[in-house]
């Protein structure tokens, strides 16, 4: 190679790197080279199961996944917060749109207006939204098993501060955040893995590493490839730390979480006349650990312990764990390469929710109609 050619290569590399440097900071440039566009709040609406995108190994491209719908919270069916009959707050399970989402199906089942917001700080959200208390309403708060400790290790804030930084200081802070972005590395890795130009090579190298040496990212350490569908499990679900399958879930921790949930329930009732209903969605590994040869004897029983403690405090809890365990072999309750539930999984949770709401004493509001049941994805009365 001549000196001139090397100079050209360096200059071209410089231009490419300048583009990438800007692309991680400017969304249209970022999307300009992505195979599947990044739309904030829609990132999980992808062709393959979300866990595939942690390793890009072709073996884990799960076939026949349903396509994603427009998310309920962005659709015109979604009511305003103040107008809603039922509030549902939570994480990606309620937002997962490979099927009609849980809040939307709940609304259809009860013929009520169901509001959904994706977040984990209800009091702050309601304060920020200037929510005004009205007649008693239910707030269903959903949390994935592995995230519960993030949300309830500490009591949720009850006092909120406005960001009062003056305009110029705020601007300076924003400029600084853009220049020294915290998630720069993540965005670069997404560009590398998902751009038109590199995704094939990236995926080919990952697949080669997997096929030759069994190399797979430690973000998806447990997997199965020789069944009807490929299986992947996220690392957070099977650790020994809080939120992981093997965590021993000591009593004092359970009490601490439940104290904080009880406090949240009390604040919601007193401030907004909202009755908290709690739902913990088991991790996929908690239900399907046997798929990868784990007999499950080391499970710390986190969810059953939580149920027992919440019941002691009279906090309504939608108990899906036992039903998931009972039905896990008959039905596929989670997608093999996604963290989230299938429609069958969702229906178990929906039926449990409808049953619970029906039995709650407070208000005739929810008990006017007989409890509908969901069978094979069809609502029946």
């Amino acid at each position: 190679m001549s000196e001139k050619a090397l100079r050209w290569i360096i200059n071209i590399a410089g231009v490419v790197c300048l583009y990438l440097f800007l692309a991680v900071r400017i969304l249209p440039l970022f999307n300009g080279i992505l195979l599947e566009k990044y739309i904030p709040e829609y990132w999980e609406n992808t062709q393959w199961g979300e866990l595939y995108y942690f390793n890009f190994i072709k073996t884990f491209q799960e076939k026949n996944l349903p396509e994603c719908h427009t998310k309920y919270r962005f659709s015109n069916r979604h009511p305003k917060l103040q107008d809603a009959d039922i509030l549902t707050f939570g994480d990606s399970f309620f937002d997962f749109s490979r099927m009609t989402t849980f809040p939307e199906q709940l609304g259809d089942s009860l013929n009520k207006r169901v509001y959904y917001a994706r977040m984990d700080r209800p009091l702050k959200y309601l304060a920020d939204s200037n929510y005004q208390p009205g007649p008693k309403r239910y707030l269903i708060f959903e949390t994935a098993e592995r995230f519960l400790h993030f949300r309830f290790e500490q009591a949720q804030d009850t006092v909120f501060y406005q960001d009062n930084r003056a305009g110029i200081r705020k601007l300076a802070a924003n400029v600084r955040d853009v220049i020294f972005m915290e998630d720069q590395e993540l965005k670069y890795s997404q560009l590398l893995a998902r751009s038109y130009f590199s995704t094939q090579a990236y995926s080919a190298i990952s697949t080669l590493k997997f096929n030759l040496f069994g190399q797979i990212t430690n973000q998806t350490p447990a997997y199965k490839v020789d069944g009807e569908i490929p299986w992947l499990f996220g690392a957070l679900q099977l650790g020994h730390e809080q939120g992981g399958f093997y965590w021993e879930a000591p009593h004092e921790k359970i009490v601490n979480y439940c104290d904080n949930i009880e406090l949240l329930s009390k604040e919601l009732r007193e401030r907004y006349n909202l009755e908290l209903v709690f739902m913990i969605i088991p991790s996929k590994y908690t239900i399907y650990h046997y798929v990868v040869g784990d007999d499950g004897k080391k499970y710390g029983n986190f969810i059953p312990k939580m149920y027992a403690e919440l019941k002691k405090r009279n906090i309504p809890v939608i108990e899906v764990y036992d039903e998931f365990m009972a039905q896990r072999k008959e039905k596929l309750l989670f997608y093999g390469t996604d963290t989230h539930w299938t429609e069958d999984g969702l229906h178990i949770a929906l039926n449990k929710t409808l049953n619970l709401l029906h039995t709650l004493p407070v208000d005739s509001y929810y008990t006017q109609a007989p409890v509908p049941e969901v069978k094979n994805g069809v609502l029946t009365n």
């Binding site: 590395e185 040496f213 190399q215 973000q219």
Partner: protein, 479 residues
């Protein structure tokens, strides 16, 4: 910003392309901005510390050179030393000494507690502090002239390839290079790229792979016995070497691409035949720093024998403390001091034993035994260096020799990692032995073009296919 991050992989070509495009007169400005950006990506707040050190040393050096009286020169030097070492002490050692003091206060019922602050250790503070210290000391000694261009001096303090983990450059080597104009040099760029690739190989293929095994054992030492503990310790020796020398190679290679020569930091240390030789090969920029600014000012070897040994021991004790504010590092430094003193004391006896055993007649065998023994001694030191505390270090040493037949040796999450790690270490040894015997790079340049390309492509492919790309910090960042 880590070298083994995508952030750096996309940042560096951009800097290089701009570097060769812009007017050479203004290149230092580009490098200064890039260096500050490089550091601020880790923590933008702590750049103030670098800027502060830069201003202090810039002014101190000029004042020293202008001062007529020796007492004034000493005052300015002391001002620079106390400011730099004060910052280093406050950020790195306050907690350690405070906790130690509080322990003794408790023991002797003294009702006083040294306040302990909870803040982040600024990355690279030990490195850039030592670099700036050497500058003011050299100016004081008249060994170099003060730099009047503030921007270029600021670049000397913060030059991004070696800012956070060295090599600790002397002003006499690096500063003059900022006044030169480097043209685009094909050969230099090529050798820089190759060196960077070799550094990446050591870091992401070897060091980061071994880290998994080492961390598993050393962070839960009570559960491991026998071979896994021995293997973890051997692996740590290679982890720390590949991690740190890998960083140095990337630093030297990236500087070389732009035309700058940084000093060699490692020269195949595990092929050393004795501890003294090891220190001529390991972290050379630091060991020569301690030699020039601590050991020799203490009197070096030109004093009474007991004082010479004391000087040696003290230098290594301080070197241990430089590595970290923990007793484990102090013990590690002391151990190496003891090794050297012992080697000096027993020089004649060892000669007598060697000839008694007939080893002098078999120089190759003798050399191999020396290398092996040196490695074992170094390994013993690494136990203290890596252990989370002194109690753990003792447990490591005990558990090495308690056998647990039930345990498995391969503790990697992915079983093939053991074979990849061992093969990579084998390849490393092979290349290092070749380098020891011949100028390997010079030999490579004699190859025909297709072979050269084949080697480069194979190296890059190996890095991508076998590299652990879930970016892990470089071990020496913590120092």
């Amino acid at each position: 910003m880590l070298f083994n991050s995508l952030e750096f992989i996309f940042f560096f070509p951009l800097v290089v392309a701009l570097y060769f495009i812009i007017n050479p007169k203004y290149r230092w400005i580009l490098l200064l901005v890039a260096s500050y950006y490089f550091y601020m990506c880790w923590s933008y707040k702590y750049i103030i510390l670098i800027a502060f050190s830069t201003v202090i040393d810039y002014l101190a050096a000029i004042m020293i050179s202008r001062a007529k009286k020796k007492s004034s020169r000493i005052s300015f030097l002391m001002f620079s030393l106390t400011t730099n070492l004060g910052l280093l002490f406050f950020f790195k050692y306050w907690g350690f000494f405070g906790e130690t003091a509080n322990y003794f206060f408790d023991r002797f019922n003294i009702f006083y507690q040294v306040p302990i602050y909870d803040y982040l250790l600024p990355v690279g503070i030990s490195f850039y502090t030592f670099q700036t210290l050497s500058y003011t000391i050299d100016v004081y000694k008249g060994q170099c002239k003060p730099e009047y261009n503030f921007g270029k001096f600021a670049l000397y303090v913060s030059f991004f390839p070696q800012l956070v983990a060295g090599p600790i450059e002397r002003s006499s080597n690096l500063l003059p290079q900022f006044h030169k104009t480097f043209t685009f040099n094909y050969e230099r760029i090529k050798s820089g790229i190759l060196l960077m690739c070799w550094g990446f190989f050591k870091k992401v293929v070897i060091a980061d792979r071994l880290a998994e095994y080492v961390n598993l054992v050393y962070n839960d030492i009570d559960h491991y016995h026998g071979l896994p503990v021995i293997l973890a310790t051997v692996f740590f020796a290679f982890q720390i070497y590949c991690d740190f020398s890998g960083y140095s190679d990337i630093a030297i290679g990236s500087a070389r691409i732009m035309g700058y020569d940084l000093m060699t930091n490692f020269r195949r240390p595990y092929l050393a035949a004795n501890i003294q030789d090891f220190w001529r090969r390991w972290h050379i920029s630091l060991s020569t720093w301690f030699r020039d600014y601590v050991y020799i000012p203490l009197g070096g070897s030109r004093v009474a024998k007991w004082r010479w040994h004391f000087n040696l021991f003290l230098t290594f004790l301080i070197s241990g403390l430089w590595h970290g504010a923990e007793w484990t590092f102090i013990i590690w430094g002391a151990l190496h001091g003891i090794y050297l003193v012992f080697a000096n004391i027993t020089k004649d006896q060892r000669k007598w034993v060697n000839s008694g055993l007939g080893l002098t007649k078999h120089p190759l065998l003798h050399h191999l035994l020396q290398v092996a023994l040196t490695f074992i001694l170094v390994l013993f030191g690494w136990v203290f260096f890596r252990a989370n505390n002194t109690a753990d270090a003792i447990t490591v040493l005990q558990n090495m020799f308690t056998w647990n037949a039930a345990g498995t040796i391969n503790l990697f999450r992915i079983p093939s990692d053991l074979y990849i790690a061992l093969s990579a270490i084998g390849l490393l040894f092979f290349i290092e032995i070749l380098e020891e015997r011949m100028q390997l790079y010079e030999k490579l340049t004699l190859l025909t073009r297709p072979y050269k390309w084949l080697i480069l492509i194979l190296l890059i492919l190996t890095i991508f296919v076998l590299g652990m790309w879930e970016a892990q910090d470089f071990l020496y960042f913590q120092f």
